[in-house]
């Protein structure tokens, strides 16, 4: 579990003469309400695209750093207005360079400003790891890439591990598994992702574990080209044994044609269903990222109201692949809910007629980021970006759910 660092400690960091804090410290400080002022000094378009959001997003002031170069006094005065009486200010930019410069100017002007080391790049790379449950026979961890709203799930039982929807930085999982003394056995992608780069194929090569994907998703929906990476094929009804856990593959097409759920059954009777981009806590996965929204929207209906109702027990915990807002987490910061609660609370599921449902879906499709086509190429081995290019592809928050 993340250790909460009260906002007061951020202030204390400054008092002890530190000029920067790290993303994990800021994240911890923002797990409860605070009086921090976030000063974001990036360009307008970068700020519009994504910013620091947590369960308790503090007041945020946006003032691009070149104002501090061009009109330093005016810019500092604008910050001063909001940050009198020693109110702590955390300054953030893209990589931590310009914000360091601005924080120093603010400190010279007598304000309590501290730089966020590494800026939004580090924030974007921050993974929050927390336990879902730790039983004698099995343990489950949520690995949440906070800035992107991407969630992955690690199952461990009797020394064996499976990762569902492993996110880009595979080494974070290896570290967790090492701490847990578990050996990686299965790498399971619920589908070929369009919003983020999977570390599944790389981790498979690195560890010798098998990487699994449904073959329908091993064809690029726009290029119509087959995957050029090693993978084992998933199919409906397939079963895996992971220590004391049973994993069943349920084909749940709609978001993609090869989207599957992994239904994990524990010996104590609990069930956990990794839904990827099928069901979310709020909303569900959009059907148009393959360019076939009108054809695939009815398939989403059949999956949710047919397959899910039939095959996933009502008491199963739904473990989704995304969230749109940190408000979707429970009090423990976990993005999980029992299916029966989801039927009740997720208002996008309150449909009884397929036609109405399809209408609703097609009228609530958000903008599709153009890089989603390329990310899918990367995920099936058709493209191999440099580190910088990969960073740019993954910039900002996921847009995999319906809007509003």
């Amino acid at each position: 579990m993340s250790i909460a660092l009260p906002a007061a400690d951020v202030v204390a960091s400054q008092a002890s003469g530190r000029s920067e804090i790290f993303v994990h410290e800021l994240y911890a400080a923002l797990q409860q309400p605070s009086n921090l002022l976030l000063l974001d000094v990036r360009n307008d378009d970068e700020f519009q695209m994504w910013r620091i959001e947590t369960r308790h997003t503090p007041e945020t002031l946006h003032l691009p750093y070149f104002f501090f170069l061009e009109e330093e006094e005016k810019a500092i005065a604008q910050v001063q207005e909001r940050a009198a009486n020693g109110r702590p200010i955390v300054v953030v930019c893209a990589k931590g360079g310009a914000s360091d410069y601005v924080a120093e100017r603010l400190r010279e002007a007598g304000l309590s400003a501290i730089n966020l080391a590494g800026g939004m790049v580090e924030w974007g790379d921050f993974y929050d790891v927390r336990p879902v449950t730790e039983q004698p026979d099995y343990r489950i961890y949520q690995v949440d890439r906070v800035a992107r709203g991407c969630v992955s799930w690690v199952f461990i039982s009797r020394g064996e591990a499976a990762i569902v929807d492993p996110l880009r930085y595979g080494e974070r999982y290896l570290k967790l598994l090492e701490e847990q003394g578990a050996q990686l056995k299965f790498l399971l992608d619920t589908h070929a992702h369009a919003d983020h780069i999977s570390s599944g194929p790389d981790l498979a090569e690195l560890t010798g574990a098998a990487y699994y994907l449904h073959p329908y998703d091993a064809i690029h929906p726009f290029d119509m080209l087959p995957a050029r990476m090693k993978y084992a094929m998933l199919h409906d009804g397939q079963r895996f044994t992971l220590g004391a856990l049973q994993i069943e593959v349920i084909h749940t097409p709609g978001h993609t044609l090869g989207q599957v759920n992994f239904l994990v059954t524990a010996p104590d009777g609990e069930a956990f269903c990794c839904t990827g981009d099928n069901l979310f806590i709020e909303s569900f996965g959009r059907p148009d990222l393959g360019g076939q929204g009108e054809r695939w929207a009815p398939v989403v209906y059949d999956t949710i109201f047919g397959v899910m109702k039939r095959r996933v027990p009502n008491h199963a915990w739904i473990l989704p692949g995304h969230y749109a807002s940190p408000a979707e987490a429970n009090a423990d910061g976990l993005y999980m809910k029992r299916l029966e609660e989801l039927w009740r609370d997720n208002r996008s599921l309150h449909f009884t007629e397929k036609e109405r449902f399809v209408e609703f879906v097609l009228s609530h499709l958000p903008y599709m980021p153009p890089q989603y086509v390329e990310i899918k190429r990367v995920n099936i081995g058709l493209s191999n970006p440099s580190l910088d290019e990969a960073d740019e592809l993954e910039l900002g928050k996921n847009i995999c759910a319906l809007s509003g």
Partner: protein, 89 residues
């Protein structure tokens, strides 16, 4: 940007290779103040972020115009980001 960089008359070059944000802009700002109004500074940077930064700066500052930006491969294979900035006031 529609201007062909080959037609731009450059009065001074500023080499900020290896420097990261905010230094390319800080140095460009100092350099441009040493030019006469109308003269052009060519900035050579290895910082990819400088592309957007120079655009933002040109909008925010009241004494410069960004005439053009281009990319070029350096002998070592790195990409160079070139910015042509004119002092206007």
């Amino acid at each position: 940007m529609t201007i062909d960089v080959a037609t731009i008359q450059v009065h001074q070059e500023l080499d900020v290779r290896g420097l990261n944000c905010p230094m390319p802009l800080v140095k460009a700002r100092q350099a441009i103040l040493k030019l006469d109004v109308g003269q052009v500074l060519k900035v050579i940077s290895t910082d990819r972020g400088s592309v957007k930064d120079f655009q933002g700066w040109a909008k925010a500052a009241n004494n410069v115009a960004l005439l053009a930006q281009s990319e070029e491969a350096a002998p070592d294979g790195k990409t160079l980001y070139l910015h042509y900035v004119q002092r206007t006031k």
